[in-house]
Protein backbone atom coordinates (compact mmCIF):
# COMPACT_ATOMS: atom_id res chain seq x y z
CA UNK A 1 0.00 0.00 0.00
CA UNK A 2 1.23 3.46 -0.91
CA UNK A 3 0.48 6.73 0.89
CA UNK A 4 -0.49 10.21 -0.12
CA UNK A 5 -1.70 13.47 1.34
CA UNK A 6 -4.98 15.15 0.46
CA UNK A 7 -5.63 18.89 0.53
CA UNK A 8 -8.93 20.74 0.62
CA UNK A 9 -7.27 23.86 2.01
CA UNK A 10 -9.81 24.15 4.79
CA UNK A 11 -10.00 27.52 6.45
CA UNK A 12 -12.47 27.97 9.30
CA UNK A 13 -13.30 31.57 10.18
CA UNK A 14 -11.89 32.82 13.49
CA UNK A 15 -14.49 32.07 16.17
CA UNK A 16 -14.90 35.64 17.39
CA UNK A 17 -14.79 37.39 13.99
CA UNK A 18 -17.23 37.55 11.09
CA UNK A 19 -14.60 36.94 8.43
CA UNK A 20 -11.01 35.78 8.02
CA UNK A 21 -7.95 37.83 8.78
CA UNK A 22 -6.27 39.30 5.70
CA UNK A 23 -3.33 36.90 5.79
CA UNK A 24 -5.23 33.67 6.50
CA UNK A 25 -5.57 32.33 2.96
CA UNK A 26 -1.95 33.20 2.18
CA UNK A 27 -0.86 31.41 5.36
CA UNK A 28 -2.64 28.11 4.70
CA UNK A 29 -1.38 27.97 1.12
CA UNK A 30 2.22 28.50 2.23
CA UNK A 31 1.85 26.02 5.09
CA UNK A 32 0.37 23.38 2.80
CA UNK A 33 3.22 23.80 0.33
CA UNK A 34 5.72 23.41 3.16
CA UNK A 35 3.95 20.24 4.31
CA UNK A 36 4.04 18.79 0.81
CA UNK A 37 7.72 19.61 0.37
CA UNK A 38 8.42 17.91 3.69
CA UNK A 39 6.29 14.88 2.78
CA UNK A 40 8.14 14.54 -0.50
CA UNK A 41 11.49 14.53 1.29
CA UNK A 42 10.22 11.81 3.65
CA UNK A 43 8.99 9.48 0.92
CA UNK A 44 5.24 10.07 0.62
CA UNK A 45 4.16 8.90 -2.82
CA UNK A 46 1.27 11.21 -3.75
CA UNK A 47 -0.39 14.51 -3.00
CA UNK A 48 -3.93 15.18 -4.22
CA UNK A 49 -5.42 18.65 -4.40
CA UNK A 50 -9.17 19.24 -4.76
CA UNK A 51 -11.04 21.61 -7.02
CA UNK A 52 -13.94 23.20 -5.18
CA UNK A 53 -15.68 26.49 -5.73
CA UNK A 54 -17.54 28.78 -3.34
CA UNK A 55 -17.41 26.34 -0.40
CA UNK A 56 -16.31 28.85 2.22
CA UNK A 57 -14.36 27.41 5.15
CA UNK A 58 -14.71 23.87 3.74
CA UNK A 59 -12.31 24.32 0.81
CA UNK A 60 -10.37 27.30 -0.49
CA UNK A 61 -8.81 25.32 -3.32
CA UNK A 62 -10.43 26.48 -6.55
CA UNK A 63 -7.30 26.60 -8.72
CA UNK A 64 -5.49 23.32 -8.02
CA UNK A 65 -3.43 23.53 -11.20
CA UNK A 66 -1.74 26.66 -9.87
CA UNK A 67 -1.18 25.14 -6.44
CA UNK A 68 0.19 21.89 -7.88
CA UNK A 69 2.46 23.82 -10.22
CA UNK A 70 3.93 25.54 -7.18
CA UNK A 71 4.28 22.18 -5.44
CA UNK A 72 6.03 20.77 -8.50
CA UNK A 73 8.81 23.28 -8.14
CA UNK A 74 9.39 22.50 -4.47
CA UNK A 75 9.37 18.70 -4.77
CA UNK A 76 11.30 16.06 -6.68
CA UNK A 77 9.49 12.75 -6.59
CA UNK A 78 6.00 12.98 -5.14
CA UNK A 79 3.15 12.41 -7.64
CA UNK A 80 0.94 15.47 -8.15
CA UNK A 81 -2.70 14.52 -8.19
CA UNK A 82 -5.74 16.45 -9.22
CA UNK A 83 -8.23 15.25 -6.68
CA UNK A 84 -10.11 16.21 -8.81
CA UNK A 85 -10.65 18.43 -11.87
CA UNK A 86 -14.31 19.19 -12.53
CA UNK A 87 -14.83 18.11 -16.13
CA UNK A 88 -18.44 19.25 -16.74
CA UNK A 89 -17.85 21.76 -19.57
CA UNK A 90 -19.75 24.65 -17.93
CA UNK A 91 -17.11 24.57 -15.16
CA UNK A 92 -14.01 23.84 -17.23
CA UNK A 93 -13.84 23.67 -21.02
CA UNK A 94 -12.11 20.43 -22.05
CA UNK A 95 -9.49 22.30 -24.07
CA UNK A 96 -8.50 24.34 -21.02
CA UNK A 97 -8.28 21.17 -18.92
CA UNK A 98 -6.13 19.43 -21.54
CA UNK A 99 -3.84 22.44 -21.79
CA UNK A 100 -3.45 22.91 -18.04
CA UNK A 101 -2.91 19.23 -17.22
CA UNK A 102 -0.37 18.91 -20.02
CA UNK A 103 1.53 21.97 -18.88
CA UNK A 104 1.56 20.75 -15.29
CA UNK A 105 2.86 17.40 -16.53
CA UNK A 106 5.64 19.20 -18.40
CA UNK A 107 6.75 21.46 -15.57
CA UNK A 108 6.66 18.55 -13.10
CA UNK A 109 8.65 16.17 -15.35
CA UNK A 110 5.68 13.85 -15.81
CA UNK A 111 4.32 13.56 -12.28
CA UNK A 112 0.62 14.32 -12.85
CA UNK A 113 -2.23 12.06 -11.77
CA UNK A 114 -5.35 13.24 -13.60
CA UNK A 115 -8.26 12.87 -11.20
CA UNK A 116 -11.69 13.85 -12.48
CA UNK A 117 -15.17 14.40 -11.10
CA UNK A 118 -18.48 16.13 -11.47
CA UNK A 119 -19.23 17.83 -8.11
CA UNK A 120 -22.45 17.36 -6.20
CA UNK A 121 -22.92 20.44 -4.06
CA UNK A 122 -25.66 22.90 -4.95
CA UNK A 123 -23.27 25.78 -4.34
CA UNK A 124 -20.95 24.59 -7.10
CA UNK A 125 -23.47 23.21 -9.58
CA UNK A 126 -25.67 26.29 -9.22
CA UNK A 127 -22.70 28.63 -9.45
CA UNK A 128 -21.82 27.27 -12.89
CA UNK A 129 -25.39 26.56 -14.00
CA UNK A 130 -24.82 22.81 -14.20
CA UNK A 131 -28.01 20.74 -14.36
CA UNK A 132 -27.73 18.14 -11.62
CA UNK A 133 -29.51 15.52 -13.71
CA UNK A 134 -26.99 15.95 -16.53
CA UNK A 135 -23.78 16.33 -14.56
CA UNK A 136 -22.60 12.74 -15.01
CA UNK A 137 -23.18 12.92 -18.74
CA UNK A 138 -21.28 16.24 -18.74
CA UNK A 139 -18.43 14.70 -16.75
CA UNK A 140 -18.18 11.83 -19.21
CA UNK A 141 -18.29 13.96 -22.35
CA UNK A 142 -15.87 16.49 -20.87
CA UNK A 143 -13.40 13.77 -19.90
CA UNK A 144 -13.73 11.89 -23.18
CA UNK A 145 -13.01 15.01 -25.21
CA UNK A 146 -10.16 16.09 -22.91
CA UNK A 147 -8.44 12.74 -23.49
CA UNK A 148 -8.87 13.07 -27.24
CA UNK A 149 -7.36 16.55 -27.06
CA UNK A 150 -4.37 15.27 -25.08
CA UNK A 151 -3.69 12.49 -27.55
CA UNK A 152 -4.97 13.64 -30.95
CA UNK A 153 -2.73 15.45 -33.42
CA UNK A 154 -4.86 17.27 -34.29
CA UNK A 155 -7.94 16.89 -32.15
CA UNK A 156 -10.70 16.08 -34.59
CA UNK A 157 -13.35 18.34 -33.07
CA UNK A 158 -16.78 17.47 -31.70
CA UNK A 159 -20.41 18.42 -31.97
CA UNK A 160 -21.57 16.90 -28.71
CA UNK A 161 -24.39 17.46 -26.29
CA UNK A 162 -22.25 19.66 -24.05
CA UNK A 163 -19.10 20.46 -26.06
CA UNK A 164 -18.91 21.93 -29.53
CA UNK A 165 -15.49 22.62 -30.95
CA UNK A 166 -13.91 22.55 -34.42
CA UNK A 167 -10.72 20.70 -35.32
CA UNK A 168 -7.70 22.13 -33.51
CA UNK A 169 -4.33 20.86 -32.37
CA UNK A 170 -4.55 21.31 -28.62
CA UNK A 171 -1.04 21.95 -27.31
CA UNK A 172 1.09 21.29 -25.39
CA UNK A 173 0.75 17.52 -25.02
CA UNK A 174 1.46 15.85 -21.66
CA UNK A 175 4.88 14.31 -21.08
CA UNK A 176 3.34 11.00 -19.96
CA UNK A 177 2.04 8.96 -22.87
CA UNK A 178 -0.61 8.43 -23.92
CA UNK A 179 -1.77 10.64 -21.05
CA UNK A 180 -1.34 10.85 -17.24
CA UNK A 181 -3.03 8.14 -15.12
CA UNK A 182 -6.78 8.74 -14.96
CA UNK A 183 -8.88 8.74 -11.78
CA UNK A 184 -12.44 9.52 -10.81
CA UNK A 185 -13.89 10.63 -7.47
CA UNK A 186 -16.25 8.03 -6.00
CA UNK A 187 -18.48 9.62 -3.40
CA UNK A 188 -21.26 7.11 -4.08
CA UNK A 189 -20.65 3.43 -3.64
CA UNK A 190 -21.72 2.39 -7.13
CA UNK A 191 -19.24 4.79 -8.74
CA UNK A 192 -16.36 2.52 -7.68
CA UNK A 193 -17.63 -0.15 -10.05
CA UNK A 194 -18.27 2.39 -12.80
CA UNK A 195 -14.63 3.43 -12.39
CA UNK A 196 -13.51 -0.19 -12.79
CA UNK A 197 -15.44 -0.66 -16.01
CA UNK A 198 -14.19 2.63 -17.46
CA UNK A 199 -10.56 1.90 -16.60
CA UNK A 200 -10.26 4.67 -14.03
CA UNK A 201 -8.53 4.69 -10.68
CA UNK A 202 -11.07 5.11 -7.90
CA UNK A 203 -10.64 7.94 -5.41
CA UNK A 204 -13.08 6.68 -2.84
CA UNK A 205 -14.72 8.77 -0.15
CA UNK A 206 -17.06 5.99 0.87
CA UNK A 207 -15.94 5.38 4.48
CA UNK A 208 -15.43 1.68 3.86
CA UNK A 209 -14.52 -0.58 6.75
CA UNK A 210 -11.67 -3.02 6.00
CA UNK A 211 -14.15 -5.87 5.49
CA UNK A 212 -16.21 -3.85 3.02
CA UNK A 213 -13.03 -2.71 1.29
CA UNK A 214 -11.89 -6.31 0.84
CA UNK A 215 -15.05 -7.28 -0.99
CA UNK A 216 -15.31 -4.14 -3.06
CA UNK A 217 -11.66 -4.06 -4.13
CA UNK A 218 -11.89 -7.68 -5.29
CA UNK A 219 -15.01 -6.80 -7.28
CA UNK A 220 -13.33 -3.69 -8.71
CA UNK A 221 -10.46 -5.77 -10.10
CA UNK A 222 -12.85 -8.44 -11.41
CA UNK A 223 -14.69 -5.79 -13.40
CA UNK A 224 -11.42 -4.34 -14.72
CA UNK A 225 -10.66 -7.80 -16.08
CA UNK A 226 -14.08 -8.96 -17.20
CA UNK A 227 -16.16 -5.92 -18.18
CA UNK A 228 -13.81 -3.29 -19.59
CA UNK A 229 -15.08 -0.20 -21.42
CA UNK A 230 -12.05 2.10 -21.08
CA UNK A 231 -12.64 5.78 -21.61
CA UNK A 232 -8.94 6.52 -21.94
CA UNK A 233 -6.15 5.25 -24.16
CA UNK A 234 -4.65 3.50 -21.13
CA UNK A 235 -6.31 2.23 -17.98
CA UNK A 236 -5.31 3.00 -14.40
CA UNK A 237 -6.47 0.11 -12.23
CA UNK A 238 -6.17 1.41 -8.68
CA UNK A 239 -8.28 1.90 -5.58
CA UNK A 240 -7.55 4.71 -3.14
CA UNK A 241 -9.39 5.66 0.03
CA UNK A 242 -9.33 9.14 1.54
CA UNK A 243 -8.93 9.13 5.32
CA UNK A 244 -8.71 11.75 8.04
CA UNK A 245 -5.28 11.62 9.67
CA UNK A 246 -3.30 12.45 12.76
CA UNK A 247 -0.32 10.49 14.04
CA UNK A 248 1.25 11.41 17.39
CA UNK A 249 3.45 9.75 19.97
CA UNK A 250 0.50 8.51 22.01
CA UNK A 251 -3.09 7.70 21.16
CA UNK A 252 -4.34 10.35 23.58
CA UNK A 253 -2.15 13.05 22.03
CA UNK A 254 -3.32 12.10 18.53
CA UNK A 255 -6.95 12.27 19.59
CA UNK A 256 -6.45 15.66 21.19
CA UNK A 257 -4.72 17.12 18.13
CA UNK A 258 -7.18 15.57 15.67
CA UNK A 259 -10.21 16.79 17.57
CA UNK A 260 -10.41 20.13 15.78
CA UNK A 261 -9.77 18.59 12.37
CA UNK A 262 -11.67 15.47 11.34
CA UNK A 263 -14.95 16.33 13.05
CA UNK A 264 -15.04 19.75 11.38
CA UNK A 265 -14.22 18.08 8.08
CA UNK A 266 -17.25 15.81 8.52
CA UNK A 267 -19.43 18.67 9.71
CA UNK A 268 -18.59 21.04 6.86
CA UNK A 269 -18.92 18.22 4.33
CA UNK A 270 -22.41 17.46 5.60
CA UNK A 271 -23.23 21.16 5.68
CA UNK A 272 -22.53 21.74 1.97
CA UNK A 273 -23.51 18.34 0.60
CA UNK A 274 -26.51 17.40 2.72
CA UNK A 275 -27.84 20.25 4.86
CA UNK A 276 -27.57 22.92 2.14
CA UNK A 277 -30.15 21.04 0.08
CA UNK A 278 -32.70 21.93 2.77
CA UNK A 279 -31.37 25.29 3.95
CA UNK A 280 -29.31 27.01 1.25
CA UNK A 281 -25.97 28.50 2.22
CA UNK A 282 -25.90 32.30 2.40
CA UNK A 283 -22.63 33.33 0.71
CA UNK A 284 -20.37 35.44 2.87
CA UNK A 285 -22.80 35.49 5.76
CA UNK A 286 -22.48 32.19 7.56
CA UNK A 287 -19.97 31.00 10.11
CA UNK A 288 -19.46 27.24 9.92
CA UNK A 289 -16.73 27.08 12.52
CA UNK A 290 -18.80 28.85 15.15
CA UNK A 291 -21.85 26.73 14.36
CA UNK A 292 -19.73 23.61 14.53
CA UNK A 293 -18.34 24.44 17.96
CA UNK A 294 -21.75 25.38 19.28
CA UNK A 295 -23.38 22.09 18.29
CA UNK A 296 -22.62 18.71 19.89
CA UNK A 297 -20.67 16.46 17.54
CA UNK A 298 -22.98 13.50 17.98
CA UNK A 299 -25.84 15.67 16.79
CA UNK A 300 -23.92 16.58 13.62
CA UNK A 301 -23.14 12.96 12.88
CA UNK A 302 -26.68 11.80 13.51
CA UNK A 303 -28.04 14.42 11.12
CA UNK A 304 -25.56 13.39 8.46
CA UNK A 305 -26.57 9.77 8.80
CA UNK A 306 -30.27 10.53 8.67
CA UNK A 307 -30.15 12.87 5.73
CA UNK A 308 -27.63 11.00 3.61
CA UNK A 309 -29.00 7.59 4.51
CA UNK A 310 -25.44 6.47 5.06
CA UNK A 311 -24.79 4.98 8.50
CA UNK A 312 -21.40 6.22 9.60
CA UNK A 313 -21.50 4.72 13.05
CA UNK A 314 -22.08 7.86 15.08
CA UNK A 315 -22.44 5.92 18.25
CA UNK A 316 -25.97 4.76 17.64
CA UNK A 317 -25.06 1.24 16.66
CA UNK A 318 -26.44 1.76 13.18
CA UNK A 319 -23.58 0.84 10.91
CA UNK A 320 -21.93 -2.35 9.87
CA UNK A 321 -18.85 -1.13 11.70
CA UNK A 322 -20.88 -0.85 14.82
CA UNK A 323 -22.00 -4.45 14.68
CA UNK A 324 -18.71 -5.45 16.27
CA UNK A 325 -18.95 -2.78 18.94
CA UNK A 326 -19.66 -4.29 22.28
CA UNK A 327 -17.91 -7.50 21.32
CA UNK A 328 -14.59 -8.58 22.73
CA UNK A 329 -12.75 -7.01 19.81
CA UNK A 330 -13.59 -3.51 21.01
CA UNK A 331 -10.96 -1.96 23.29
CA UNK A 332 -11.95 -1.24 26.88
CA UNK A 333 -10.23 2.11 27.47
CA UNK A 334 -12.12 5.22 26.38
CA UNK A 335 -9.41 6.71 24.16
CA UNK A 336 -8.59 3.37 22.56
CA UNK A 337 -12.26 2.78 21.90
CA UNK A 338 -12.69 6.20 20.25
CA UNK A 339 -9.73 5.51 17.98
CA UNK A 340 -10.89 2.00 17.23
CA UNK A 341 -14.30 3.22 16.18
CA UNK A 342 -12.75 5.96 14.05
CA UNK A 343 -10.46 3.41 12.41
CA UNK A 344 -13.47 1.21 11.60
CA UNK A 345 -14.80 4.19 9.64
CA UNK A 346 -11.52 4.59 7.77
CA UNK A 347 -9.86 7.27 9.92
CA UNK A 348 -6.10 7.09 10.44
CA UNK A 349 -5.68 8.60 13.89
CA UNK A 350 -3.47 7.41 16.73
CA UNK A 351 0.02 6.45 17.79
CA UNK A 352 2.31 4.83 15.21
CA UNK A 353 1.52 1.41 16.69
CA UNK A 354 -2.24 1.93 16.57
CA UNK A 355 -2.24 3.48 13.10
CA UNK A 356 0.01 0.76 11.74
CA UNK A 357 -2.29 -1.94 13.05
CA UNK A 358 -5.38 -0.22 11.59
CA UNK A 359 -3.77 0.31 8.20
CA UNK A 360 -2.60 -3.28 8.04
CA UNK A 361 -6.26 -4.31 7.67
CA UNK A 362 -6.59 -2.13 4.57
CA UNK A 363 -3.32 -3.49 3.24
CA UNK A 364 -4.72 -7.00 3.72
CA UNK A 365 -7.80 -5.84 1.77
CA UNK A 366 -5.38 -5.02 -1.12
CA UNK A 367 -6.00 -1.30 -1.00
CA UNK A 368 -3.54 0.35 -3.38
CA UNK A 369 -3.33 3.82 -1.88
CA UNK A 370 -4.36 5.46 1.38
CA UNK A 371 -4.66 9.23 1.02
CA UNK A 372 -4.45 11.08 4.31
CA UNK A 373 -6.26 14.32 5.09
CA UNK A 374 -3.89 16.08 7.46
CA UNK A 375 -4.84 19.71 6.83
CA UNK A 376 -8.39 20.14 8.04
CA UNK A 377 -10.33 22.24 10.49
CA UNK A 378 -8.14 24.07 12.95
CA UNK A 379 -5.36 21.49 13.16
CA UNK A 380 -2.11 23.37 13.65
CA UNK A 381 0.63 23.43 11.02
CA UNK A 382 3.29 22.33 13.52
CA UNK A 383 1.16 19.37 14.55
CA UNK A 384 0.68 18.38 10.91
CA UNK A 385 4.42 18.55 10.27
CA UNK A 386 5.13 16.39 13.32
CA UNK A 387 2.42 13.97 12.29
CA UNK A 388 3.79 13.64 8.76
CA UNK A 389 7.31 13.05 10.08
CA UNK A 390 6.31 10.51 12.71
CA UNK A 391 4.17 8.60 10.23
CA UNK A 392 6.87 8.60 7.55
CA UNK A 393 9.54 7.38 9.94
CA UNK A 394 7.64 4.90 12.07
CA UNK A 395 4.72 3.64 9.99
CA UNK A 396 5.45 3.94 6.27
CA UNK A 397 8.68 1.87 6.06
CA UNK A 398 7.08 -1.50 6.82
CA UNK A 399 4.31 -0.85 4.28
CA UNK A 400 6.85 0.19 1.66
CA UNK A 401 8.77 -3.02 2.28
CA UNK A 402 5.65 -5.07 1.72
CA UNK A 403 4.38 -3.15 -1.30
CA UNK A 404 6.06 -5.57 -3.72
CA UNK A 405 3.56 -8.17 -2.53
CA UNK A 406 0.66 -5.88 -3.41
CA UNK A 407 2.17 -5.27 -6.82
CA UNK A 408 2.46 -9.02 -7.31
CA UNK A 409 -1.21 -9.47 -6.32
CA UNK A 410 -2.16 -6.70 -8.72
CA UNK A 411 -0.23 -8.24 -11.59
CA UNK A 412 -2.13 -11.46 -10.97
CA UNK A 413 -5.46 -9.58 -10.96
CA UNK A 414 -4.59 -7.87 -14.22
CA UNK A 415 -3.35 -10.97 -16.01
CA UNK A 416 -5.04 -11.20 -19.38
CA UNK A 417 -6.10 -7.54 -19.48
CA UNK A 418 -5.59 -6.47 -23.07
CA UNK A 419 -5.62 -2.70 -22.69
CA UNK A 420 -2.49 -0.60 -22.13
CA UNK A 421 -1.95 0.26 -18.48
CA UNK A 422 -0.57 3.57 -17.24
CA UNK A 423 -0.52 3.38 -13.48
CA UNK A 424 1.98 4.43 -10.83
CA UNK A 425 0.84 2.08 -8.06
Amino acid sequence: MKFGLFYELQLPKPYDKETWDAEDEHRIVKEALEQIEFADSLGFDYVFEVEHHFLEEYSHSSAPEVFLAAASQRTKRIRLGHGIVLTPPPVNHPARIAERVAMLDLVSDGRVEFGTGESSSDMELGGFNVDRAAKKAMWEEGLRETIKMMTGEPYCGVNGDYVQMPERNVIPKPLQKPHPPLWVACSRRETLMVAARMGLGALSFAFDSPEEATERIAEYYRLVREEPFPIGKAINPAVAIVSTFMCAKTDEEALMKAWLGGPFFAYSLAYYYVDAAQTPHRPGKQHLWRNFLNTPLEEHMRRLEQRAGIPLGAGTGESQSQKIIGTEEEPKSESQRALWRAARRGATIGSPEFVSKSLKKYEDAHLDLMILVAQCGMVKHDDIMESIELFAKEVMPEFKERHAKQQEWRREQLRGVEYPINSTI
Binding site: A133, A134, K136, E190, M193, G309, I310, P311, S319
Partner: protein, 110 residues
Protein backbone atom coordinates in the same frame (compact mmCIF):
# COMPACT_ATOMS: atom_id res chain seq x y z
CA UNK B 1 -20.07 -9.82 -5.15
CA UNK B 2 -23.11 -11.48 -6.79
CA UNK B 3 -23.88 -11.07 -10.47
CA UNK B 4 -27.31 -10.77 -12.12
CA UNK B 5 -27.41 -14.55 -12.53
CA UNK B 6 -27.31 -14.91 -8.74
CA UNK B 7 -30.50 -12.87 -8.20
CA UNK B 8 -33.28 -15.06 -6.86
CA UNK B 9 -36.27 -13.05 -8.07
CA UNK B 10 -36.88 -14.01 -11.69
CA UNK B 11 -38.28 -10.67 -12.85
CA UNK B 12 -35.43 -8.68 -11.32
CA UNK B 13 -32.88 -11.16 -12.63
CA UNK B 14 -34.24 -10.77 -16.16
CA UNK B 15 -34.26 -6.99 -15.97
CA UNK B 16 -30.71 -6.72 -14.72
CA UNK B 17 -29.38 -9.35 -17.09
CA UNK B 18 -30.95 -7.33 -19.91
CA UNK B 19 -29.46 -4.11 -18.51
CA UNK B 20 -26.02 -5.71 -18.43
CA UNK B 21 -26.38 -7.02 -21.98
CA UNK B 22 -27.49 -3.61 -23.18
CA UNK B 23 -24.33 -2.03 -21.76
CA UNK B 24 -22.22 -4.65 -23.50
CA UNK B 25 -23.95 -3.94 -26.80
CA UNK B 26 -23.62 -0.17 -26.40
CA UNK B 27 -27.35 0.49 -25.97
CA UNK B 28 -27.00 2.66 -22.88
CA UNK B 29 -30.48 4.15 -23.05
CA UNK B 30 -32.08 0.71 -23.07
CA UNK B 31 -29.85 -0.30 -20.15
CA UNK B 32 -31.01 2.69 -18.08
CA UNK B 33 -34.62 1.78 -18.79
CA UNK B 34 -34.08 -1.82 -17.62
CA UNK B 35 -32.16 -0.81 -14.50
CA UNK B 36 -34.59 1.89 -13.41
CA UNK B 37 -37.45 -0.54 -13.95
CA UNK B 38 -35.65 -3.02 -11.69
CA UNK B 39 -35.33 -0.36 -8.99
CA UNK B 40 -39.00 0.56 -9.43
CA UNK B 41 -40.06 -3.06 -9.09
CA UNK B 42 -37.87 -3.43 -6.04
CA UNK B 43 -39.47 -0.33 -4.50
CA UNK B 44 -42.85 -1.99 -4.91
CA UNK B 45 -41.72 -5.36 -3.57
CA UNK B 46 -39.28 -4.24 -0.90
CA UNK B 47 -39.55 -0.55 0.05
CA UNK B 48 -37.57 -1.33 3.21
CA UNK B 49 -34.42 -1.76 1.13
CA UNK B 50 -34.13 1.98 0.70
CA UNK B 51 -34.05 2.76 4.38
CA UNK B 52 -30.98 2.10 6.48
CA UNK B 53 -31.16 -1.27 8.16
CA UNK B 54 -29.77 -0.98 11.71
CA UNK B 55 -29.17 -4.70 12.01
CA UNK B 56 -27.78 -5.48 8.59
CA UNK B 57 -25.73 -2.29 8.63
CA UNK B 58 -26.44 -1.72 4.96
CA UNK B 59 -25.72 1.62 3.39
CA UNK B 60 -28.16 1.57 0.51
CA UNK B 61 -28.43 5.22 -0.35
CA UNK B 62 -31.16 7.03 -2.23
CA UNK B 63 -31.14 6.51 -6.00
CA UNK B 64 -28.64 8.51 -8.05
CA UNK B 65 -29.81 11.68 -9.77
CA UNK B 66 -28.66 10.64 -13.21
CA UNK B 67 -31.16 11.65 -15.85
CA UNK B 68 -34.00 9.63 -14.38
CA UNK B 69 -35.95 10.04 -11.15
CA UNK B 70 -38.00 7.67 -9.07
CA UNK B 71 -41.19 9.28 -7.84
CA UNK B 72 -42.80 7.72 -4.79
CA UNK B 73 -44.91 10.51 -3.34
CA UNK B 74 -48.48 11.30 -4.44
CA UNK B 75 -48.61 8.30 -6.78
CA UNK B 76 -50.39 4.97 -6.40
CA UNK B 77 -47.17 3.11 -7.14
CA UNK B 78 -43.57 4.22 -7.81
CA UNK B 79 -42.91 5.80 -11.19
CA UNK B 80 -39.79 6.54 -13.19
CA UNK B 81 -39.52 10.01 -14.75
CA UNK B 82 -36.90 10.37 -17.48
CA UNK B 83 -35.31 13.80 -17.80
CA UNK B 84 -33.82 12.87 -21.16
CA UNK B 85 -34.36 10.38 -23.95
CA UNK B 86 -30.70 9.52 -24.48
CA UNK B 87 -28.23 8.24 -21.87
CA UNK B 88 -24.48 7.82 -21.76
CA UNK B 89 -22.26 4.88 -20.84
CA UNK B 90 -21.44 6.20 -17.37
CA UNK B 91 -25.10 6.86 -16.66
CA UNK B 92 -26.07 3.35 -17.73
CA UNK B 93 -23.32 1.82 -15.60
CA UNK B 94 -24.34 3.94 -12.61
CA UNK B 95 -27.99 2.90 -12.77
CA UNK B 96 -27.09 -0.72 -13.41
CA UNK B 97 -24.69 -0.91 -10.47
CA UNK B 98 -27.11 0.89 -8.18
CA UNK B 99 -29.96 -1.43 -9.16
CA UNK B 100 -27.78 -4.52 -8.77
CA UNK B 101 -26.57 -3.53 -5.31
CA UNK B 102 -30.09 -2.59 -4.24
CA UNK B 103 -31.50 -5.96 -5.30
CA UNK B 104 -28.67 -7.83 -3.65
CA UNK B 105 -29.15 -5.81 -0.46
CA UNK B 106 -32.84 -6.64 -0.51
CA UNK B 107 -32.34 -10.34 -1.06
CA UNK B 108 -29.65 -10.46 1.63
CA UNK B 109 -32.27 -9.26 4.14
CA UNK B 110 -34.59 -12.19 3.42
Amino acid sequence: MPKPADIKNEKLRELLSAAQSAIRSGDFTQSVRQSTEAVRQLLIMRPDVFTADPLAGTRQALPPVVGARLVTENVTEPQVIFDREKFTMAEAMTWYQYALESVITGEARD
